[in-house]
Symmetry: C2
Subunit: 118 residues, 2 copies
């Protein structure tokens, strides 16, 4: 059976404190999970049952994250682009993170293999 | 109406890289969300609809996190204690994070008000 995983990609070109980083990652993870659950309950359940494998990568620009988001949407792979409300460290609307899946890991990797671990 | 929020508490006394930190926070957030959804679908939905307010705090020991976890469980407030599989940076089973809620913010604060922002 194909490996199911979630990939979280965080922007590394903007400065976020640890708390901000943790919150953005959690936001991306949960929103993308809810998308996946809407699209395919079985995949979402399998991923939870298997321990929720998550991989955290980094992207070096807002543009890179947005392009990936569009690519995954085009492929109908569940994903969620996170922007910050900007109350504290960042400008309102700053894109900070992208959550992808849980979904077939190989299908995700096709687009993310050039991104490095955060 | 009471403010609904989720609190994520991360251990600050162990060394975690950014990717590990992000993954543990996401894990705590999602597991605790699923607990909350099981217990009270309305609260979970309200929290999502209102933009998923998340607060990230820090704890200085495993013991502090475990005691908090027991306190919230005793109060029947949805929560999830996360331990790491320990494949890379940490010993297997190391407790890394605690997710609480989404739940009534005031009820959470009663136990967490002495913890500082991460």
């Amino acid at each position: 059976m194909a490996e199911i995983k979630q990939v979280i990609i965080i922007r590394s070109d903007i400065s976020m404190g640890k708390g901000k980083l943790a919150a953005q990652a959690a936001h991306a993870s949960l929103m993308s999970y809810l998308e996946a659950e809407k699209k395919d309950k079985e995949i979402a359940k399998q991923w939870i049952d298997e321990g929720e494998k998550k991989i955290v990568l980094k992207a070096d620009s807002e543009d890179a994250l947005k392009k990936l988001f569009e690519a995954f949407r085009f492929k109908k792979i569940p994903c969620s682009l996170v922007s910050d409300a900007g109350l504290t460290q960042l400008q309102p609307g700053t894109v900070t993170a992208l959550g992808i899946g849980p979904w077939n890991g190989e299908e995700i990797d096709r687009f993310t293999s050039t991104f490095k671990l955060l």
